[in-house]
Structure formats: structure tokens, C-alpha cells
């Protein structure tokens, strides 16, 4: 989810939280703080990279961007997600 969010352009934590909130239509709004451990884990696994940059917030913020490996990982995840969701879809339709 996070990977998909920043796949289009690099974003800072606040932006990611906002975007997930708007895209999912507030249904997925978990504690915004729990976003950060996830971001850090992704960063430590090398899927995303982070830089402190000037931001639209009017001061430097940590901006996360997808790495090459992260993009590959995203494709893999999307594929498996699509497989899973279509399987679930089929199951629900035909049950």
C-alpha cells in the first residue's frame, strides 16, 4: 500500500498518511503513528530510500522514494495481491 502510494512520486510521512486517508475514503484510517514503523521497516529492508528535503510543509521533511528493488517488490506484491483478491472474488461469487 505504502509502496503503491509513493510509486508515483516521492512523499513525506504526512503526505503518505493524508493520501492513504483520502484514497481509501477514510475507511483505512488507522492510528497515523503506526505508519512510521512500517516506513522504517521498508527503508531498512531497502525497498525505499529517504532524504531530508525542502517540502510543501514549509520546512525540511523526510521524503521517501521507491528504490529500484522496491519497484520490483511492488510488482511482485501487486501480482500476488491480484491473484489473492481474484481468488477471493471468485470464491465469493460462486459460493
Amino acid at each position: 500500500m505504502i509502496l503503491k502510494t509513493i510509486a508515483r512520486k516521492p512523499m513525506h510521512g504526512w503526505g503518505i498518511a493524508k493520501r492513504i486517508q483520502t484514497l481509501s475514503g477514510d475507511t483505512l484510517a488507522v492510528g497515523q503513528g503506526s505508519l512510521y514503523p512500517a516506513l522504517h521497516r521498508l527503508e531498512n529492508q531497502g525497498w525505499i530510500s529517504a532524504e531530508w528535503e525542502e517540502s510543501d510543509l514549509g520546512r525540511p521533511a523526510k521524503v521517501y522514494a521507491l528504490t529500484r528493488e522496491g519497484r520490483k517488490q511492488l510488482e511482485r506484491e501487486l501480482k500476488s495481491w491480484n491473484r489473492l483478491s481474484s481468488a477471493v472474488h471468485l470464491l465469493i461469487q460462486n459460493a
Binding site: 504526512w14 512510521y36 531497502g46 530510500s49
Partner: protein, 886 residues
């Protein structure tokens, strides 16, 4: 790519963890401020906005922790934290720390010291390029492939030219020559070589050159290469020495080169001083033209890729060809090659491995002891540990912390152990058998330190793991209720008993092994050598052969010298002999035949040890005359040749006959076929080694078989040093240019001949002693801890009427049970283990009941004493105090 990024991130967060934390803080602050900003924009008050933001965001500190955990380096930070905590703990209980570190230091130190010897002898490469290509070559009889002998000069030349498996081949032999001219005349260790030896060993001269092939040709000018030590010591590091001439055995040799001290000559001679061509040696030079004289030790370097088996096959063909071509000298002989390393290391390997095994047991015991100590510590820390688990620490985390403390102990013990090993190596050095030092110097370098570090960490894991697991309870609630006192007690107690039993068992094994060696050593040193070494001084005199070249001169010199020595006050008796029993240069063993007996089958021969002695010799050495007579002044070259034989020779080769009056043919080559009449039989002498039963021996009078030198032996009640001075004066009054070397009292020389036995005995004996002390401490620790745990129980027992005696029996009984279990196991193990040292024992069986009995009694005694102290303490328990205890 990704892996680099991950590693980079981890290292970064490890090194800059405070920085990373600050960044995290900032990032979260931004988010919260943004949330507040939105809330304020929606018209909330400042306080409401803050509360709203906190709600939206979630628990800040937990989130931060989770972020930190994703860095995956927290264990390293935990580890340093644990170490800091560990250091504080160790400082708080200095007694415990000192005992554990000392115990470990003993174990690790002893192991490191022994390993440094193993490293020098077995592991370090020989100091030559590609040492595994080096082989030694021998002549062996076809029928007895283990009787190795040297090779004649002619056969060496033939082999060198005809073989296709060696890239180079060289021969050498040793001869002590007299160096005169610069200062006191002295004997120099001279290697007689064929010049190829230098390229074979890749010897690079410090200055000048080594010998060239032309120098090895007959009739070439006499040149010599000298060692750096001789050059510095004797010639004052004079750079002009090259090109100058020096006198060896009164003959001029031109110095052409100096070899550096770092060059180690094989068979070594760490003190090798001079190298000359074998052709130029006064003794061996002429013998090179006699194909029957096997005088060269031959070394070869295998061509790259040639296997030992292939080389041996080639030598088999060559040997057969030589036997066919020169049947007179080489019939019945074959050529055999042996890897050089095997020859050098020889039987040291098994002895060293046994020592390493023994010292490993010592370390195991040390670990068991420290484990015991840690266990009692951990048990009393039960409440603290239970509390930490209750506060959320995982069991693994606690085990990690306890292991970090053990690692700290292990490291301290290792450091102290290395210091101890330094001292031990210093102390051990004089006891080291000479062949150990010969191979390469023993020093504590990189590999040894790495070994010590590895050992400390392995030991830390060994003694730390069990207590750590026992100390962390699986049932938390119960251990908090019990106030921690009993935490892990049950498992702990079993484990402690097991450790104590194991320690006693190991100590039993070590003590029995040490005891067997000590007993064997005592037997060897008390063995009757067949002569009386007390008050006898020996000194070596050797005559330069270019000046004293005829046997007549040798005899004249020895007569003159003995006459002067006899005249000295305080000298009871003096004689000349070559060789002496346990001679530094080895014994002479020659073939003999008995006149009148049927001819021996070809390839078979009878041999006996040979010595040429002046008439007084038997009196000086107090070798008893059994029948016939000693030699006398009458046994001169003009009278019939005579001989004296030993009891064993008489018994073995003259069964049921009277040897006196019979004739034997033998002698120092080339006089090996001279008939000699037996005039006397003397007692047996142990001449090869004290631990070796005497073989047959034959003696001839010096006047009839003179040599160019020999050993002077003097019996005198004067001090050895004044005897030595008097011998020197007497020799120099005849000829100022003669060296007198190796002056020592005979008991000293004997001591040197059993250096190896003494080394083993001292080492295994001290391992046994350390083991005994460790076992005593171990059983003391277990029993006294158990007794203190039972104070409550003992109080109740005494309150209901138990006598002090009963308490004593209770505690002692517990200790005795441990000791008996341990002893039983130990004796069984020892029965197996002592088989390994069977070859090191002299006339003691590996199941020697005396040794086993003594060890069992000593260990039982020590165990009971170790239990008695806590038992007495328990006995004195005041029931009232005990009942209030806890």
C-alpha cells in the same frame, strides 16, 4: 545492491544511533504539528488540537520503539549495555571475580602454553620454501625396511644423476672441527655438505656466497661458509672476513660467505657454525672414495607434482640397479624415502597430542568450576531476573545478558591466561627436550593468541550457557512468590552435582595419568645404569687431524694427558673413552663375528655397542669385573689384540660357554675384521638411554684402537668446576691450541639424557596438581552451597533432636556420594585413557594398582576435607537462628 543498502543502513544506525533517534523525533514532531495545524484550522483551541493530534497519531513512545527495532541492530546496543552492566556486577563481587578469573586463567594459560609448543612443532611451516617437497633418503636392508642408514658418496652421486623425480638432491654429515687463530681454540659445529644443499634449502647468504658446485669437486681449493653468530661472536662482525683464511683442524680455509642467523640448518643445528665441502673434511674427505662407507645423510626436493609414492617407486628401481651394479657394497639394500616433516616431528606428535588432550581436560574442569560459581550467583539473583521478566524482558534477552557476563569473564580469564602462558613458556623452556627447540623457536604469536581468544569464548559459552538457562525460570509466578531464593534451585542443584562429579572424574583421569608418569620417571631415575656417575666429570678433547694425523700421535697424546691427569692432586682416577654412555654424539654400534662359529647367513649380522677405553676406565666408572681381567698397560699395539665384553653379550652369544679366551672379529672401520681375544667380562651398562635395557657391548683398549680424540672422565671429590679447570690446564700444558669442550659432571649429562621424560612428567604432574585443586574447590563449592541452602532444614532437624554428629554425617554423606560417583567414573575413564600413554611408560603397567590406589585415596581425602569445612559450619548451626532464617 539492496544488500549493500541494508548493511549501510544498519552500520549507519549503529554508529549514529543518537542521530537516528533525533531524526525520528523530528519526523514525528512534524507530523504532529501538521495534525495540530489542521485541527486549529478547523477551529479547535490549542489544547484540544494537541489532544486531538495525540489521539490521531497513537502512542508516541511505542511507535518510536517499533521504529528503532526495525533497525535490527538493537542487539549490539543491548550487548554493550550488558557488558557495562556485567562490569559493574563483577566489580561489586571482587571475590567471585578473582576466583573465576584465576581459575579460567589457569585453564586457558596452560592450554595456550601447550598450544604454543604444538604450534611451533606441528603447525608452523618448516622454515624452507615448499617444505612438503623435502624428503630424506636412506639405505635400508631389503629384509628390515626400518633400519635406516646413511648413503655412500658414490651411491649419492649415482642417484643424483640418474633420478628423474627430484629437482635437487644433496648430502651432508656433521663433524666437529677445531677452529684456531682467533682467540681461544674452540670446537665449531661443522656441516660437511655437498654444495647443492644451499640451493635445495634456498639459503641466501648475508654476505659473500654459499658453496658452488665447483667447491664440491675433489681437489678444489678449501673454502668455508660461516654462520652469522660465529662471524659476530668470534670475528667481531668484521666485514673483511670474507676472503680471509681461517684455520679448521690446523688447515687453512678461505671464508667465502656468511649465512644469516635466521637460516636454520636441518637436523639442526640451531648452532651450526661452519659449512665446508665434504671433500675437504679431514675425516670424511678420504672416505668419500670408499663406496662401502655410508656417510651421507641425503635430502632431496621432489619436482613439483611428483608424489611420494612415485618417487619411492623410482628409488626402488634405482636401488635395484645399484645393487646389481655394485653387488659388493649394495647387495641386499634398497633405497627408502621419508617426508622430511615426518622425520623432524617424529614421535613428538603423539606426546604433544596427549599433552594437549590432558590440558584440555584441565580447561574443562576450570569451566565446570566457573559454571558452578555462576550458578550460585544466578540462583541468588533469581528475584531480580524474575522481576525483569515480569517487566517485559524476554527469556532470550535475559539469557543473552547472562551470556554477555560470561563472555566478559571469559575474556578477562583469557587475558590473564595469556599472561600466564608467557610465564609458563619461559619456565618450561629449560625443560623442553632439545628436539622441540631445534625445529623452531617457541613464541606466543598471532595463531597462539587467536587460539587463546577462541578458547576463552568457547569456554565462556561452555560455562555460561547452562547457568543462564537454569537461572531464567519458565514459571514466573512461582519464582516471584518464592522470593527468588529457590529459583531454579532444583535444576541448579542437579546440574551442580553433575558438574562436581564430572570434575572429580576428570581429576581422577589426570591424576592417574600424571601418577603413572611420575612413577615411571622415578623408576627411570633410580635405575642402576651399570656404572656410578657420582663425582665423575667428563670433558671432550678432540685432536685436529691435519696436525695429529697418525694413530701413533693420538696414542702419544692420550698417554701424555692421562699421565698428567694422574699426577694431579685430588684426582682419584682418570681415563679416556670414546664414546661414553649417553654420549652427546651417540653410541657406536658395530657388527662382530665370533671366531670358530659357523658363518652367518647373508644379510644377517650380530652387532654390539662399541667403545675404546683406556685401562682405568672401568675403575673410574665403577663398572664391575665379572670374570677375567681389565685392560692394562700391557695391551699395547705390539701385543696381541684384546677385548672385554659385557655380561649380556656373553650370555646371548656364548650360551653355556666360557667366552674368556675366545676370539671375536670387530673394530672401528676400517679395522672391522681384526681378531681380538676376549680377556674379561664386565657388568652391563645402560649406554643408549636410562630407560633402555642394556644391549650387548664390547670394549677395546684405546692403545690398540686409538681415535683422534675422546672423552676424558675423571673421578674426583673436588667440585666439578675445579676439576674442569684442572683438565683444561692439563690439556693446554700439552698443546695450547687444543679445545676442551662439553665439560660437565656426569650426573648432569645423565639428566640431559632424560630431558624428554622429565618434561612430560613435570607437565602432566602439574596438570594433575591443578586438577586436584580445581576438583577440591569444585566439590567445596557444591557442598557448602547445598549446606547453606539447607540451613533451615538443619535447624528443624536439630530442633527435633538431631545431634551434631548426625548433621555432620548428613553433609559429609552428600559430599562422599559425589566423590564416589566421580571416582568411579574417573577410574573407568582412566583405564581407557591410560592406554594412550602406554608407550611413554617405563616398566609400569597402565593399570598399575599402586598408582590407582594412591590417586583414589588422595582424591577421597581431598574431597572429604573439602566437605568437612561446610559440614562443620552446618554442625554449628544454632537452631533458633536457622529457624528464623529467611
Amino acid at each position: 545492491m539492496r544488500i549493500f543498502r541494508i548493511i549501510n543502513r544498519r552500520i549507519h544506525s549503529l554508529l549514529h544511533h543518537s542521530h537516528a533517534d533525533a531524526e525520528l523525533q523530528r519526523e514525528i514532531e512534524i507530523h504532529i504539528q501538521q495534525l495540530m495545524h489542521e485541527a486549529r484550522a478547523a477551529g479547535m483551541t490549542e489544547a484540544d488540537a494537541r489532544a486531538m493530534a495525540a489521539r490521531e497519531f497513537g502512542p508516541i513512545e511505542q511507535i518510536k520503539d517499533k521504529c528503532r527495532e526495525t533497525r535490527r541492530v538493537s542487539w549490539i546496543q543491548d550487548f554493550t549495555q550488558d557488558l557495562r552492566y556485567g562490569i559493574r556486577l563483577l566489580r561489586e563481587s571482587p571475590g567471585f571475580t578473582a576466583v573465576s578469573v584465576l581459575t579460567l586463567a589457569l585453564g586457558i594459560g596452560a592450554n595456550t602454553a601447550i598450544f604454543s609448543i604444538v604450534d611451533a612443532v606441528l603447525l608452523r611451516a618448516l622454515p624452507y620454501p615448499d617444505p612438503d617437497q623435502l624428503v630424506l633418503m636412506f639405505d635400508v636392508p631389503l629384509k628390515g625396511p626400518d633400519v635406516l642408514s646413511a648413503i655412500s658418496y658414490r651411491d649419492f652421486r649415482e642417484c643424483r644423476e640418474q633420478n628423474r623425480v627430484f629437482s635437487e638432491m644433496a648430502g651432508n654429515t656433521f663433524h666437529d672441527l677445531t677452529l684456531t687463530g682467533a682467540g681461544e681454540p674452540s670446537i665449531v659445529n661443522t656441516a660437511d655438505v655437498t654444495p647443492e644443499i644451499f640451493s635445495l634449502l634456498n639459503a641466501k647468504p648475508l654476505a659473500g656466497r654459499t658453496l658452488l658446485p665447483e667447491d664440491g669437486k675433489p681437489g678444489a681449493p678449501a673454502v668455508a661458509v660461516v654462520s652469522e653468530n660465529l662471524w659476530r661472536g668470534r670475528f667481531g662482525s668484521n666485514p673483511a672476513l670474507i676472503g680471509q683464511s681461517i684455520a679448521l683442524d690446523m688447515r687453512a680455509f678461505t671464508v667465502v660467505g656468511i649465512l644469516p642467523a635466521s637460516f636454520r640448518y636441518p637436523e639442526g643445528a640451531p648452532q651450526q657454525e661452519v659449512w665446508i665441502s665434504v671433500m675437504q673434511d679431514p675425516l670424511f674427505g678420504p672416505l668419500t672414495s670408499q663406496p662401502g662407507v655410508r656417510l651421507l645423510g641425503v635430502m632431496g626436493r621432489l619436482k613439483p607434482g611428483v608424489s611420494l609414492a612415485k618417487a619411492q617407486a623410482e628409488m626402488n628401481i634405482l636401488g635395484a640397479r645399484l645393487a646389481k651394479q655394485f653387488p659388493a657394497e649394495d647387495a641386499g639394500l634398497a633405497m627408502r624415502i621419508k617426508p622430511y616433516r615426518q622425520e623432524v616431528v617424529g614421535n613428538l606428535k603423539s606426546a604433544l597430542l596427549i599433552l594437549l588432550g590432558a590440558v584440555g581436560l584441565v580447561l574443562l574442569m576450570a569451566c565446570a568450576n566457573v559454571a558452578n560459581l555462576l550458578l550460585s550467583q544466578a540462583t541468588s539473583r533469581g528475584r531480580e531476573i524474575a522481576m525483569r521478566i515480569a517487566l517485559g524482558a524476554s527469556r532470550g534477552r535475559i539469557v543473552r545478558q547472562l551470556l554477555a557476563e560470561s563472555a566478559l569473564l571469559g575474556f578477562l580469564g583469557g587475558a590473564a591466561g595469556v599472561l600466564l602462558a608467557f610465564c609458563a613458556v619461559r619456565i618450561l623452556e629449560p625443560f623442553l627436550p632439545s628436539e622441540v627447540v631445534r625445529i623452531s623457536s617457541i613464541h606466543i604469536g598471532g595463531p597462539v593468541l587467536a587460539f587463546a581468544l577462541w578458547l576463552s569464548m568457547a569456554a565462556a559459552l561452555a560455562f555460561g550457557l547452562a547457568p543462564a538457562l537454569v537461572a531464567t525460570p519458565s514459571n514466573l509466578e512461582k519464582s516471584i512468590k518464592e522470593g527468588g531464593e529457590r529459583t531454579g534451585q532444583r535444576g541448579g542443584r542437579q546440574l551442580r552435582s553433575f558438574l562436581a562429579i564430572a570434575e572429580i572424574a576428570l581429576a581422577t583421569v589426570l591424576l592417574i595419568a600424571g601418577g603413572l608418569l611420575i612413577r615411571s620417571f622415578a623408576l627411570v631415575t633410580n635405575v642402576n645404569p651399570g656404572f656410578d656417575p657420582k663425582n665423575v666429570t667428563e670433558a671432550e678433547v678432540s685432536l685436529p687431524q691435519f696436525q695429529y694425523s697418525t694413530p701413533r700421535q693420538w696414542t702419544a697424546f692420550s698417554n701424555e694427558l692421562l699421565a698428567r691427569l694422574h699426577a694431579l692432586p685430588g684426582f682419584e682416577d682418570s681415563a679416556l673413552a670414546a664414546p661414553l654412555p649417553m654420549d652427546r654424539q651417540g653410541e657406536a654400534n658395530f657388527a662382530f663375528t665370533i671366531v670358530g662359529n659357523p658363518k652367518l647367513a647373508p644379510g644377517k649380522s650380530t652387532t654390539a655397542d662399541y667403545a675404546t677405553v683406556s685401562p682405568e676406565y672401568f675403575r673410574v666408572m665403577r663398572i664391575p669385573l665379572l670374570r677375567g681381567r681389565f685392560f692394562s698397560e700391557m695391551d699395547s699395539p705390539s701385543n696381541p689384540n684384546v677385548a672385554i665384553i659385557s655380561e649380556t653379550l656373553a650370555r646371548r652369544y656364548f650360551p653355556g660357554q666360557e667366552p674368556v679366551g675366545k676370539q671375536m672379529r670387530f673394530g672401528f672401520p676400517p679395522n672391522s675384521d681384526v681378531p681380538r681375544e676376549i680377556v674379561g667380562i664386565v657388568g652391563d651398562v645402560r649406554d643408549v638411554a636410562l630407560s633402555q635395557k642394556p644391549g650387548p657391548a664390547m670394549y677395546v683398549p684405546f692403545a690398540q684402537a686409538p681415535l683422534y680424540g675422546g672423552e676424558v672422565v675423571v673421578r674426583s671429590s673436588l667440585s666439578a668446576s675445579s676439576v674442569a679447570a684442572a683438565i683444561r690446564r692439563a690439556v693446554h700444558s700439552i698443546d695450547k691450541a687444543l679445545p676442551v669442550t662439553d665439560v660437565q659432571s656426569f650426573p648432569e649429562a645423565l639428566g640431559r639424557s632424560i630431558a624428554r621424560e622429565r618434561f612430560r612428567t613435570v607437565l602432566l604432574g602439574s596438570f594433575g596438581a591443578i586438577a586436584l585443586a580445581l576438583a577440591a574447590v569444585g566439590i567445596f563449592g557444591v557442598v557448602s552451597y547445598a549446606a547453606s541452602q539447607r540451613t533451615h532444614e538443619i535447624g528443624i532437624r536439630m530442633a527435633v533432636g538431631a545431634q551434631q554428629r548426625d548433621v555432620l554425617r548428613l553433609i559429609l554423606g552428600e559430599g562422599a556420594k559425589l566423590a564416589l560417583f566421580g571416582l568411579g567414573t574417573g577410574v573407568v575413564l582412566a583405564l581407557v585413557a591410560t592406554r594412550l600413554i602406554a608407550s611413554l611408560l617405563y616398566s609400569v603397567s597402565t593399570t598399575d594398582p599402586l598408582t590407582f590406589g594412591t590417586v583414589i585415596i588422595v582424591l577421597l581425602g581431598v574431597a572429604v576435607t573439602a566437605c568437612y569445612i561446610p559440614a562443620r559450619r552446618a554442625m554449628r548451626v544454632d537452631p533458633m537462628v536457622a529457624l528464623r532464617y529467611q
